[in-house]
Subunit: 414 residues, 2 copies
Amino acid sequence: MTGGFFNSRFVPRPSHVLEIETMPAGFRLGGISCGVKDADSAVLDLGAVASDCEGTVSAARFCDSGVLAAPVVVTRERCDLHAIRAVVANSGNANAATGEAGIAEAVRVQEAAAAALGLSPREVAVASTGVIGVLLPGERIAAAVPALTERLSAEGLENFAAAIKTTDALDKHVQLQVTLPSGAVSLSAACKGAGMISPRFATMLCFVQTDAVLTAPSADALLGAAVRRSFDRVSVDGQLSTNDTVILMASGESGVHVEPGSEDEAQLGEALDALALQLAVRIVADGEGARRIARVHVRGAGEESVSRVARSVANSPLVKAALFGGDPNWGRVAQAIGAALPGTAPLRFDVAIEGIAVARDGAGVEHDTAALARAVSGEEILYEIDLPGAGAEAELFFSDLSYDYVKINAEYTT
Amino acid sequence: MTGGFFNSRFVPRPSHVLEIETMPAGFRLGGISCGVKDADSAVLDLGAVASDCEGTVSAARFCDSGVLAAPVVVTRERCDLHAIRAVVANSGNANAATGEAGIAEAVRVQEAAAAALGLSPREVAVASTGVIGVLLPGERIAAAVPALTERLSAEGLENFAAAIKTTDALDKHVQLQVTLPSGAVSLSAACKGAGMISPRFATMLCFVQTDAVLTAPSADALLGAAVRRSFDRVSVDGQLSTNDTVILMASGESGVHVEPGSEDEAQLGEALDALALQLAVRIVADGEGARRIARVHVRGAGEESVSRVARSVANSPLVKAALFGGDPNWGRVAQAIGAALPGTAPLRFDVAIEGIAVARDGAGVEHDTAALARAVSGEEILYEIDLPGAGAEAELFFSDLSYDYVKINAEYTT
């Protein structure tokens, strides 16, 4: 990995994108301590981001669990998802599996934030992350909201990012300048997540801001594509969260109009894709105890087949433990491929690890085992799998399975 | 757990079943060392079981991976699966992902065994377990076959069981007397497996013998039901093997006729189910490093839904790590339920752990946390999940996720 935000070889920085130190125009944000995460310390656990611009457009994506957290239900059902002006988010409590009472607490926070910001509740999204099955202390949070909204500023990204963290070790916020044909716009994001691997049910939250002038359909299309190419492509342990939320807000303050179907839109999309994928890869790298991350790339016939194989390899504890151990055990990859495609034997598959061909037509081939052992000792490992046929491909990024994963997840007691 | 073969509280011994010390009449078996597992030691790695009776009927089941091992392909395609007279099985090499050359080596072993036993190759099944992706040394095995077949005896169960082991720590063989209305028959079995968790790709093999007189359709139906209720219901790490093989052989030597649809058949089926389930639970308990095993029982509407939820809970590394840690973290069960049933929120589910209700109608309920903590410190833990509706149920047995799982699977190098 290299320095700076784009530090994975899997995510090259687009040439029209630069890291900067300022927020997109029109946004204020911040984070305070309100005692949800730890009643006895001043650790930040409540954050907000707000746009000052009436014409702000937005787009949102959520996870699709049968056990959806109350803030997801409230945001999805009670907000105008194309016109969100503010987000208030807490860590320390996921407000999930909390029933009708949880919904009421989420609404309480939403209404307090709307009142403090002079907005309609329909313009205020809520998000939570932390322990599951414990009712959110909404009254405590609502009481803290005015102090939070008073302190929002264009310099608040770091505090906002800190307030939504749970067990994250790596920073996941950035400010970028994106040079489009029609002019420069800014893009910023704060993200949290270490997969579903946290003992306290870490969740993936991501809030993205831009000062580009976007139509609501364009914002929705750009965000949808970016999420599909990033957060939908990572696995720490294959566990779907109850709280995942991604929200894009566009203030329009740059005055640079990004028209649907334009080159501006394509290039903003490219920047957003890279931003989201780098954040997603960082979530994988942040899997507690993770030593290595990997990309599995599958080619062949049939979207369903390549996708199933990619997920089977990425979620295999055998492949992941081998990745942790720096063990070039390609037989485990073969096993995961076969498990994903029952009824297809004899399957003619090829496997290459870091460019070294280890299996062809379903059987092992001679290879330089010393070179392979060296190749899998790096920080980022590439597995390439070819299935019969052509026309479809899928990729996933995943972490290894380490002692610390077990330690962290075994030794926590509710 | 209690002493004897039936030592799980999840598998009561049927009252008409007793442990004995003799094989069903008509079978000889044994195991020798042929240097596949370890060329420098006399560790047993080649076993065989044969019936002396011409009217022997059989039934077989295999895994359904897209990457099927050569012995599975050879047995499935070249044997008369209803008239198998002998099985020859090796450990130390799975002969999987070995292409056409692997098929040829498996056939070589099959033909050598048929010649040594005076049988047709169509009557001889082959099975392998061990490292994947390495060609089976068929010539070496074939050369050792005559020495093996000469030594087969009615006292050979222990050697046979040892020869098919890889990383198994617990014994998985037994001899039983089954008292049927029409008379007593014997049942024996040797099984190997520690899930797919072995560094050398442990596999599940199980060979069952009886001296009951069975029709081929009856043998097939009894074995199919027993496998569905046992080996299809366990998960160590959710990883499907390339080599799984289960074969039932009935010599008929007891003279006790078990007619299709009779009470004899029902009671023999009950014995076979208990035998297979106890072996399956022992495979789970044998997952390297496993400290605890669990049973998840799901009730509700829809076979597909209850089955998906059971698998999601049983395969969740978060649930499994909590099980290892003796952590009564029911939120992880809630998360696994939700992940299995996208689009159903808000899902009204109930969860009880060891009989203590922890969630009802999708939300946590007050419970005695001290009692719950005590309850999850035992060796066998029961999770009961109720989904909306009724009419369907599913159960799975699974192991925890331990440090040793990671250690064993990370530190092995091909």
